[in-house]
Assembly symmetry: C2
Homo-oligomer: 431 residues x 2
């Protein structure tokens, strides 16, 4: 794991390389995905079935085999160990509580001229949720992408999740049951995204597609954006831990492992003005890494993208954090709230020694779908608001119309749009 310091002569260059998130060109994937989308759009189910038979190795797949029944989802939930089911339900309830706290509502006000101005809020009608299948199947991801949609009041949630070799993951089915998924199809990849965007004989067309996936899924989401909504295109996951040296080095090491075990491209960093603490973290990493079931992935990730960065002071930690705009930010410090006010870019902040990112990944309540790769500069966690739309509403009073008409007319004439001016002026006259 890389050890650097902000006082190193070449720090800026090393740091820039560390935070450079530009993915290499994926032109080949884009081209292939674009063909798949066109194919699904044109041939519908026939194309989806072909890709599913080949890519997911399911030669038996027909249209009926694509859908999982509500009974099968419920059976998967009933089949879980009692404590596992309780954990799933507790997490769903906490995610729903948090979503309810953020729900957008109608509001309006009257201006001085009696005009009413405001917004009415409507849920998206039909949402599509992509959940990876096979080995990397994440029930937590099903909950995080689905529960806010449910709280928003989405009428119908269509989930897709591939089952390579026909193997269904019981956790994923159980999570779909807990979340209240309306229909679940065992398809994946770009063909599943295309089917949700354009609809087929079997798969309903949706209004927005959310959920993580591989490079093909990401490319497909990007390509259908505009036809349907998407929440974001996620890159590798990341954590930055700001440590003041008051914490347990072993806890910090475990948090690095938790991030690094996702995959080889995951990114985990610690910044601290306490070089001695960083030494102890490095020692804890060394001491504990071999006991980790996913040690190989952790080692690859930490050696590739990990870093322990010594800073001059806490202010420099915050400044570096704001340049990184991390997806996850742990404030492993005694007085976290004093730092929160200076944080301008982050997906989610985990405050204090007792709040590891893992709580947020599963059950604290806030969503684990967060902006990666410095996109926290301009975007936010997935939330109930991603499944709601604001419709502006204006109602002019007679007095208000008389006030607004000359303003609109002046500006319209300035733009050379004379019918706009006439349309506005007419409302200031008696009818």
């Amino acid at each position: 794991m890389q050890r650097i310091s902000t006082t190193d002569a070449d720090f800026q260059a090393i740091f820039e390389r560390l935070i450079d998130r530009d993915a290499p060109g994926l032109a080949e994937i884009d081209t292939r995905v674009s063909q798949i989308i066109a194919d699904v759009r044109q041939r519908g189910d026939a194309a989806v079935l072909e890709y599913t038979r080949t890519l997911d190795r399911r030669p038996e797949a027909d249209q009926a085999a694509l859908e999982v029944s509500q009974a099968d989802m419920q059976a998967a939930l009933d089949g879980l160990a009692t404590e596992d089911r309780a954990a799933l339900e507790a997490a769903a309830e906490r995610i729903a509580d948090y979503a309810r706290s953020q729900k957008l509502v109608d509001h309006s006000y009257e201006d001085d001229h009696g005009n009413r101005l405001g917004q009415v809020v409507r849920p998206i009608e039909r949402a599509g949720v992509y959940a990876p299948g096979g080995k990397a199947a994440y029930p937590s991801s099903v909950l995080m992408n689905t529960v806010p949609a449910k709280v928003a009041g989405v009428s119908e949630i269509i989930m897709v999740s591939p089952t390579p070799d026909g193997l269904r993951n019981p956790w994923v089915l159980a999570a779909a049951a807990v979340a209240g998924v309306d229909r679940l199809f065992t398809i994946g990849g770009a063909q599943a995204v295309a089917a949700l965007a354009y609809g087929t004989e079997t798969i309903p067309e949706v209004d927005k597609i959310v959920g993580p996936g591989n490079a093909y899924v990401a490319s497909a989401k990007r390509q259908v954006f505009g036809r349907v909504g998407i929440e974001s295109v996620a890159g590798p996951s990341e954590v930055l831990i700001i440590a003041d040296g008051t914490g347990e080095p072993e806890w910090t090491a475990l948090d690095l492992f938790a991030q690094a075990e996702h995959d080889e491209m995951a990114r985990a960093m610690v910044v601290s003005p306490d070089a001695d603490f960083l030494d102890r973290v490095a020692a804890a990493v060394e001491a504990m890494i071999e006991t980790q079931p996913r040690a190989d992935i952790i080692r690859a990730s930490l050696s590739g993208q990990g870093a322990l960065i010594a800073t001059r002071d806490m202010a420099e930690c915050v400044a570096l954090s704001n340049r990184i705009a991390p997806e996850h930010l742990e404030l492993a410090v005694d007085a976290p709230w004093a730092l929160v006010e200076d944080i301008v870019h982050a997906g989610a902040i985990f405050c204090g020694h007792r709040t590891p990112e893992a709580f947020g990944d599963y059950c604290a309540g806030p969503n684990h779908v967060l902006p990666t790769g410095r996109t926290a500069r301009f975007s936010s966690a997935l939330g109930v608001y991603d499944f709601q739309k604001r419709i502006s509403v204006v109602e002019a009073s007679a007095d208000g119309a008389a006030h607004l008409a000359p303003i609109a007319s002046r500006l319209a004439r300035g733009e050379g749009l004379f019918a706009h001016a006439a349309s506005a002026e007419a409302r200031a006259r008696d009818s």
Copy 2:
């Protein structure tokens, strides 16, 4: 202008063609834009200058010539007629008032275990605003894209607006002054979007780019999305007017003209159960169209995409509207609020006979940047919230950590993520 009825035998087919918004493939534009972006990214100012000299016919352009000073913006504002300046300032103030009413704020709550959960809200740091230049220069668009950013607290607003042949539009400069634009560069097209996304020696890199533009600008925004945020990719503008027959046919005709005069691709439709009212609208259109300064554009737009649709009843009007998901929806009826509750998709609703879309285009307050082409199914008006980010914040108490740890651990083990489990479990133990 097309006259159809929901009772026509072929109504569904005609209606589907009317609302089909799929743009023809723009692969050539995408390829050209992708080259421009790569070029600007690599060569910076040199590339931007080259494109500006050629495409905007400004052989004299050098780096200094790209920027408009604050003094020049202020001079443009001072140069406007008193009433024009007052209109611009009144519109800006109303847009700001509305934006303030929608501003996101911090909030948090404590759960039963003493965990604190919530969000802190931060403005985007640097926003880029694209404003078309040349003949189709819209000061209202400058206000609509910039004022909400200002209200959000964006630190720096960088505006770009091309000046073909070096001609500066005084209205656009004046609007930039009113809105408080920090820096204004006279560049446009894909090269301007690329410069804002990647930065050059002269043009600062921004976090989000908003604002309308031609097909090259739209393609560029789509291609840099992810590197920076974008608000949306706008298609042709549209209005749907639901009329119960109680209004003035001449007002409805003017509202159709106002929409149609934008460009040949603009789309204006009326739906009404009152066939006689539709006849009177058609007659008013015929009677008044020749007097319109932009009659040619209006005629092309109305004959190409306009329609007067007779329905069985008002409920059918609402149902058609929800299928269209119009950018602008006028409720030209006596009791608009009774209909509002049934509207599920629209960008903005204009209630009652005295509220033409033109009020919303300029000065009512709500934004005129609205979802087009059925994207109101999943997206909303541009607003102050587009320039704000929500950062989730979690702080676990000791008791709360003891409650969350076993839930997180169960789920993590279900996903095979053992370091996540260990990281969570550690927080339930004494340190």
